[in-house]
Structure formats: structure tokens, C-alpha cells
Symmetry: C2
Subunit: 346 residues, 2 copies
């Protein structure tokens, strides 16, 4: 943010802000290419994958993925229904192809997914779609599913750059930028070239959503979200200089472990309902044994400088989101506050 | 830009930038509502029109308009082909409905549109689409066409807020934000409520592009482009405090007139090829009688602090864009430079 502020009046010596510069000027093209190169380096993206920086966030991709991959043909796709975001992705996909809900999140005492062996996979599915992390319920897949002959597609909005993924295992990865990359209004799509090429024949896909067209145009079929791309570039550069994804992975494991320990050692005062094997390192929802204390908890937290702890309006309760931008010290401050609140109000 | 910079480290007392704030927090909702209220006031938008702030720029609307208005039914629409942008809008529309190209820009000595009486309107057209200003050829419609029984739809990307329009004459107005409103990555859609409601039944429209769904969700079906919306809000507020659209209209007429006079009084050294009745006040392309001087012109202009004068790569030549953000003094500086260049190099 400091760099954004310093560069705002005069970006790269042009006398105006990056927002006021043309997206085809050399300075912005260089900035755009640097962001792509940094993302490729951070995620070790193979050369036979396109990296696209697109308008619209992940939810537009919920539609773009089936539109591009079905490419006007009749297609069935397997969708893993892990919760809120997966269900939204499925609802969009149903507009464009046949969705086979091959696995559904269960809540028998604890929130968990069925084991992969029990998934009802469609034999003819064109792709398998899953959501590695559900931000509202706080459920995360710690293993990448085996898609078999199908193409694996993942909505990585809330886990991209938070841990290492072998990109080669995926045909298509997409992510809204606003969690671990940059500001809202930008989606990153990493798509194997042969899959993107399939979209060239997809007549009903809006051109700015067409992966083949955007790949051919360097993500500039239309004016891209220049400012969001620029800020994303700063974040990616910072990440490379600070240990890359491996360092984030280690830090995120430690951060989440500190908070889960605080919850699990609270004698039931705090409670997280996700089965241990499926607990998210990014989003940790919890409830109070005494729900009537929730508002007092939030008020005391805000007074201590801890904001953003209210659970998603679809779930209620409380939630801590520990994205890359949250430093370990912030989690320590949170757990100290939680312990103190428990001791005084428990 | 100064205000953006000042507010970046601590927006509305939250201790972080607007980019880092949740889009459902009260502060951002207030900012979003203020932007809508300011736009409604500036354009005198009647209450039976929705105002939507959407992802993706105008080109996504090239597809969204026919997808929403056809709503899965068979539909014919009249499109006025005035040039580059109109042609792109038509190409997108053809994916979703039957396009009747009812008028085509002509270039017999000068660039001009056929008179409205000669347009080949389809009797059963669901809507009439036109592009009030073509930024590349520099052609502008100074009168709003009479759509008759059809709904009038306009791509106002490069003229919104540059002059007054009677919104009531339109069923749907859309505009990419990056010309007269704010940063790239935001589109404004002003749509009559009955037309938006039609989209509720449109099964193949991605939900974030569906006008009915976005209207019901206050443009927040998904995380909106928060930063672009915020900057747009600052521009709209500034515009209200500085005379509104009427003041801009007057200033833009004067600015363009100064530049056209400079061109027309150059004894043929500079030339604009658009017929007088169709000349744009926003984008003024011109050529040099001696095209080999173009690079020298651009270099001398850049040295004089005048950037952005290269013509669009689709057209070549030179071009001055006089959007709202360009002050009258900037145009005077430009014409002084042009006169001096002509006197020394002519």
C-alpha cells in the first residue's frame, strides 16, 4: 500500500497515475508481463499453460469455465459439492452443461467430505471441478483429487499462493484476486493451451470471456482492469522477494495451527465444527458455547483493534480469515485476545 | 488523484485502504450508494431505472445486452454500424440474436452516417442499438435517434457525462467507466426496470451479467470492483460540485471547437475527415498533409508535455481525446503547439 501511495501521482515517470495510463503503453505492458512472469515463477507454471488476467472475479468464471470447456457441445462434468462456493459454481455450470454432483459435504457431528473412493464419478465427465477451500464453512482439501481421465478444474480463489500446488495436475485453475493476490475485480486463469484452444470454436461465449481469444490478445481483448493488475503485480513481486509460496505455506500452516490450538484448548468455550482432516488454514469459523456472548466478543475484539471477525452472513457465528496478508503476529494477538476473553467471560 | 492518495492508508478511519475493506461493510455500502445517488442526480435518471455498477467494461456488455434483452427468446435487433465499436457490439450480438445492420457509416469524401430517414429499420426489431460516439474515427451522433416502438439502447462509454441526455428516451444505457467516470474495470448500466425484469427468465446469462439478479443484489451478486467504484464515486462527486453535466457540455463544446478551428484554419496542414455535422467533441483524429512529419510531430509534442496524441492503432494518424478530465487550458496548449509546429515545419 505504501508503494501504491508513493507511485500514485507519478507512475514510472509518466507524470500521472497508473490508472490514467493507456493499457497498451509500453510501461503498462511491461508491468503486466512482469506480473505474469512472477506468477509463473511463484507457481512453477509450465510453458504449455496460458496465464490470463481477466475482468470479473471468480463468479464470472463459474460460467466461463463450462462455457469454454463445453464449447457448444453437449458435455457432462463432475462437480464436488463442498459447500457454498462449490454450490454456486454448480448452479452456473447447469446453465451450460449437465452437472453430476459426485460428492457432497456431510455434517454428521463434524463437517467433512466423503473419502475420494466413495465419490460417484460420472464415467463420461469432461472435467472434474472442485473448490480446494470453502471460505464460509472453513473446509479445505489438503490433497489434490485424482481426476483420472477427466480434466481437473479448481476454483483456487481462497488458496492460490497460500500453499504449493503441482499445476501440471490441473487442466484449469482460476481464482478471484481479492484474497491472496490483489484488489477485487480481477480473476487469474491458468489454463492448459489445448483446453483454451477448444474454446476458439465456442460461439456463445462472450469474447472477453473466451480463453482462446484472451490468450491470443495477451488478456487485452478489451481494456483490462489496469489498476488491479498493477497492484497484483506488486503483491506477486513482494511474494517472490519474501520466500515465495513455500514460505507462505509454512507460515500459513503455523498461523492456523496456533488458532486451532487456541480453540481446541478452550475447554469448549470456542468450537470449530470441521473434522480435523478437513480444516482450512485460510478461514477458521468458530462459535461460542454461549452464543449470547458473540456481540460482546466482537465489540471487545474491535476495541482491541481486531476487525473482520464476524462470520459470513450465510453462516453466522465468528470467523478468522488468515490469508497471506495476515502476519503471524496478528494471529498471536488474536489468540491472546481470545484467551483473555475466555478467562474473563468464560 | 490527490484524494485517492490521501485516503489510501486510512479510508474513512478504518486504518486500511478501501481496497482492503469488505464490500459489505457499512462504509463501502455508503460510498457505493453515494456514487449511485450522484450519478442519478447528474443524469436525472428516473426512479423506474436501475443503476448498476458491474465488472468488465463495455465489451462484456456487448454480449450482456443481447443476452439479457433476448432472454432466451428468438429476437431481431437493429444495430447502427457507425464504426469500430459499433461493429464489435454487432459481432457480439450475433452470438445471441439476429442482427439487422440498419445503417452503415459512409466515407464519400467525408466520414458521415446516412440520415435517419434512410435507415433500413427492421419492423420487428426488439431494440435499436447505437454508439453515440466512435472514439477511433471521431464520429458523434449529436441527436438521439428516434427508435419508434423499439427500445433504444446506447453504448455511452465515451460520451456519458460529457453532455446531457434525456435518459427517458432510452431503455438501456451502458458505459465502460474508463473515459469519463473512473478507472478501467467497471461498467455502468442504466436500465429501465421492466427491461431488467425480462432478464430474470434468461437462463443462459451468467448470474453476474444478469441485470435482474444484479439489480436485486444492489450490483453485489459477487464482490464488486471496489476500488474502481470508489474512484468513480469521487469523480461523480467532483462533477456535481463543479457544475454537473451542463457545465461539462458547455466546456466540451468549447474545447472541441478550439481544436477544430485550429485544424480547419491550418490551410490543409492538418486535416480531419469527418463531416461537420458528425464531428465528435470527445475524440478528434487528424492527419498531416505531410504524413512523414507524424513522428516528428509526436516527438515534439511529447517534449512539450503533450502525450497520448498517437492515433488508435486501427486507424493510424494522430488523435486528441478531450474527455471531461482534459481542462480547456490543455486544449489551448495543444493548439498553440500545433500552430507553432505548422509555422516552423509547414
Amino acid at each position: 500500500m505504501q508503494q501504491v501511495r508513493e507511485e500514485l501521482p507519478d507512475w514510472r515517470g509518466g507524470g500521472v497515475s497508473v490508472m490514467e495510463r493507456g493499457h497498451r503503453e509500453d510501461d503498462f505492458l511491461r508491468c503486466a508481463h512482469e506480473a505474469e512472469a512472477d506468477l509463473r515463477a511463484l507457481m512453477e507454471i509450465p510453458d504449455d499453460y496460458h496465464v490470463l488476467f481477466l475482468h470479473g472475479g471468480a463468479q464470472l468464471q463459474f460460467a466461463a469455465v463450462p462455457m469454454n470447456l463445453a464449447a457448444g457441445q453437449s458435455l457432462t462434468a463432475d462437480y464436488v459439492n463442498s459447500g457454498h462456493w462449490a454450490a454456486l459454481a454448480m448452479a452456473e455450470a447447469r446453465r451450460y452443461l449437465t452437472v453430476n454432483e459426485c460428492a457432497t459435504v456431510a455434517d454428521a457431528g463434524a463437517v467433512a467430505m466423503p473419502e475420494e473412493g466413495a465419490w460417484r464419478r460420472g464415467g463420461d465427465a469432461g472435467y472434474l471441478h472442485y473448490t480446494p477451500n470453502e471460505t464460509i464453512s472453513g473446509l479445505e482439501f489438503h490433497r489434490v483429487p485424482d481426476a483420472g481421465d477427466a480434466t481437473l478444474v479448481a476454483d483456487m480463489s481462497s488458496v492460490i499462493l497460500s500453499r504449493r500446488f503441482a499445476v501440471r495436475r490441473f487442466g484449469l485453475i482460476y481464482a478471484g484476486a481479492q484474497k491472496n493476490i490483489g484488489p477485487a475485480g480481477l480473476a487469474v486463469v491458468i489454463v492448459r493451451r489445448d483446453l483454451a484452444a477448444r474454446a476458439a470454436a465456442a460461439g456463445a461465449v462472450p469474447r472477453v470471456m473466451n480463453y482462446a481469444a484472451q490468450a491470443a490478445a495477451g488478456s487485452m481483448v478489451n481494456t483490462p482492469p489496469v489498476f488491479a493488475w498493477y497492484v497484483a503485480g506488486l503483491v506477486l513481486r513482494w511474494l517472490r522477494k519474501n520466500g515465495g509460496v513455500a514460505a507462505m505455506e509454512k507460515q500459513n500452516a503455523e498461523k492456523s495451527s496456533v488458532l486451532y490450538n487456541c480453540i481446541d484448548n478452550s475447554g469448549g468455550f470456542y468450537r470449530n465444527r470441521v473434522a480435523a482432516a478437513w480444516r482450512s488454514r485460510m478461514n477458521i469459523p468458530f462459535t461460542l458455547a454461549a452464543p449470547q456472548l458473540e456481540e460482546a466478543f466482537l465489540a471487545a475484539a474491535a476495541a482491541a483493534g481486531l476487525a473482520g471477525l464476524r462470520g459470513h452472513r450465510a453462516a453466522g457465528g465468528l470467523r478468522a480469515s488468515l490469508y497471506n496478508a495476515v502476519p503471524p503476529a496478528g494471529v498471536l494477538q488474536l489468540t491472546e485476545f481470545m484467551n483473555h476473553f475466555r478467562q474473563t467471560r468464560g
